[in-house]
Symmetry: C2
């Protein structure tokens, strides 16, 4: 059932990594870990030397054809590199790591590259830091790595790149470049735009709003700390699918907007900007759904969220939470999790609710529903302040 | 510097809690914990009895005037309850716990209640569960509890309700009802609509999209599991401020949409739905900002996010993260946090990255920047697989 890990594979030939940044150097480290021979090339020789010193491979271009050339250079220089190196290494297969695939394919094709020896790639792994010094041998462990063959990619070429991906510890997912670009537009690029848009509304907010902000909002805008220049490139490189995803979302929001506008207009007596005190207003008792479109959107959201796969690729489990109040000092969380481990229950997730102005924390332990009672009882017996 | 906790306060009179649901019963438990006398009334006598059995107070209506009557009944019945009980308890101050304040004030005024003895209230605490059995004595500990005096509220009435809030363990925040409603529209109701709208887009998404979804998206739509019927009421009760907040957000998204549409239209050769292979397309090298509005929104989002206050009401600290790879089995996280405690470093937050398809987890420990190196070194020395 499980795929062989990189360590179990044969070592089918050398890999030349072009571009020794975070991704290239991490790939080198992972491939070396799997026992493969890695060559490192970078436009900046010092960068390649640093990557080599870190253990990511040997600086230089091999004399004999490598099996795979992994181009980890910036998107705008991928095609040029592939075109040049395909003429030197006439039997090697080429791949890249750009986060939007259609643009790369267009470039590769425009440069007249050999499409039979090219497979587009996108490892879904990364860090906020960049450069070879931020590289990690386990950066790709267990992460998806999408592969997009061209219409002409040979079976052997796809197999060679798949083997590299597995050597890196990642799970290859083969799909078309359109499907890939549509998917990342929906699950990566649209969420970034939304998180930023929500966070942007806080720019002019008053202090009361800030004081009332809770964990839901914090979680929602966590990714809004991203780099504008980087995201300008990413969004521009995937503009068509992103626009499609954004159109769908804005349509849904516009429907709610429209419904709210009508709702407000229809109940003028009870919803002024400032209440006119002294007016005798007989309020009707609310019955049934007042905002059917908004309620429908929330219902659809619940269904959409339930489709997300859970841990280890299994279908999503709605974990139960066990809440525990702890003192906010070093070691308390550890003591709590020791106690949880003693209870033999695997903690699926941990969330810490920060209580403003008070030196206690509320910890939410997520566990499989069948273990919640067991954990709560064990912690309570051990003297913790537990809530179901 | 610190406010006295509920336990340290004198016991200034009885509290009558009307409505023994989650909030009413939790308030009763908290007030009892602080040594105050609590009476419980509910339209359903069995509910009041259950709350009393849980320790939230005594069932019944006091003969003498209570100091404060805390109406925790559904929003549509608040005014009726206040009006009726103000005629029985002619010296008592009244408050409520509804999540939108302007509607309550309009109702209270329409019923001809004594506004000098009323203070609107909203505890920012709650659970996904409801009813007295879900109640917790510490539900409000350290949480904000907004108080909105009417234009006629007496100084003594506000002080009495403030004392109740402090007895419950919460931090009173006094503001106007308009400010309150605008604030919750922005930091609570708008995020709910957005999270639901994002999650709703996943309803028709393909399997590839689901496979590529990462932690950023998961965090963003965590609150999309909410109950549509409940949120229909909440959104309708705060329709005017919500519409204002939604208008601002949709305007920002529409600007990005417009920019993307023009960007796509201006580069037809490089951005078709399906690449026309074989065409000779000379791609220009990207220089400068391609999507200035999108980049500007992301920049504004970064600034808006930085305004959120951090833990304990202090200004936000950008914590450093120390990443550790652990085996995904009971006790591992505990062992890690024990080791962190041994290092004397307070863990501010914990995030667990679930690696699909592989039995290891990546744990991100957030710590104050000055402690990151100390923690990383200590963990590495203890044999953990640590990344800076």
């Amino acid at each position: 059932v499980t795929e062989p890990s990189g360590q179990d594979l044969p070592h089918p030939g050398d890999v030349l990594v072009v571009g020794a940044g975070l991704i290239g150097t991490s790939a080198g480290l992972a491939l070396r870990r799997a026992g493969r021979t890695v060559w490192l090339h970078d436009a900046d020789p010092a960068t390649a030397r640093l990557a080599a010193d870190l253990g990511a491979g040997a600086v230089g271009m091999p004399d004999a054809d490598p099996t795979v050339v992994l181009v980890c250079a910036p998107p705008s220089s991928i095609a040029e590199n592939v075109h040049r190196l395909q003429q030197i290494y006439v039997s090697a297969t080429f791949s890249d790591v750009a986060s939007a695939k259609t643009e790369v394919l267009l470039d590769i094709d425009a440069f007249g590259c050999d499409l039979s020896r090219f497979v587009g790639g996108h490892p879904l792994a990364g860090r906020e830091k960049s450069g070879p010094s931020a590289a990690q041998a386990d950066l790709f462990d267990g992460r998806p790595w999408v592969l997009c063959p061209t219409p002409e990619t040979s079976v052997a070429s796809l197999a060679a790149v798949k083997a590299v991906v597995r050597s890196c510890g990642a799970s290859p997912i083969v799909t078309s470049w359109e499907e890939h670009d549509r998917a990342v537009a929906l699950v990566s690029h649209l969420p970034q735009v939304l998180a930023s848009a929500m966070a942007a509304q806080l720019g002019a907010a008053d202090e009361i709003s800030m004081a009332l902000a809770g964990q839901g909002l914090r979680d929602m805008i966590r990714i809004a700390g991203s780099d504008p220049a980087l995201w300008d490139q990413i969004l521009a490189s995937n503009a068509v699918p992103l626009l499609g995803a954004l159109d769908g979302l804005v349509d849904d929001l516009a429907a709610v907007q429209d419904e709210l506008r009508k709702f407000v207009a229809n109940e003028p007596a009870t919803r002024p900007g400032t209440p006119a005190l002294g007016e005798s207003v007989q309020r009707q008792v609310d019955i049934g759904t007042q905002l059917p479109r908004a309620a429908g959107l929330i219902e659809r959201g619940r269904a959409g969220r339930a489709r997300l796969p859970g841990k280890h690729g299994a279908s999503r489990v709605d974990f139960s939470t066990v809440q525990v109040v702890i003192a906010d000092r070093p070691g308390e969380l550890a003591r709590l999790l020791v106690a949880s481990g003693d209870a033999g229950v695997n903690i699926e997730d941990v969330a810490i609710e920060h209580s403003p102005g008070q030196p206690v924390g509320l910890v939410e332990l997520s566990v499989r529903p069948e273990f919640a009672q067991q954990l709560a009882s064990a912690l309570a017996e051990a003297g913790w302040t537990v809530h179901g």
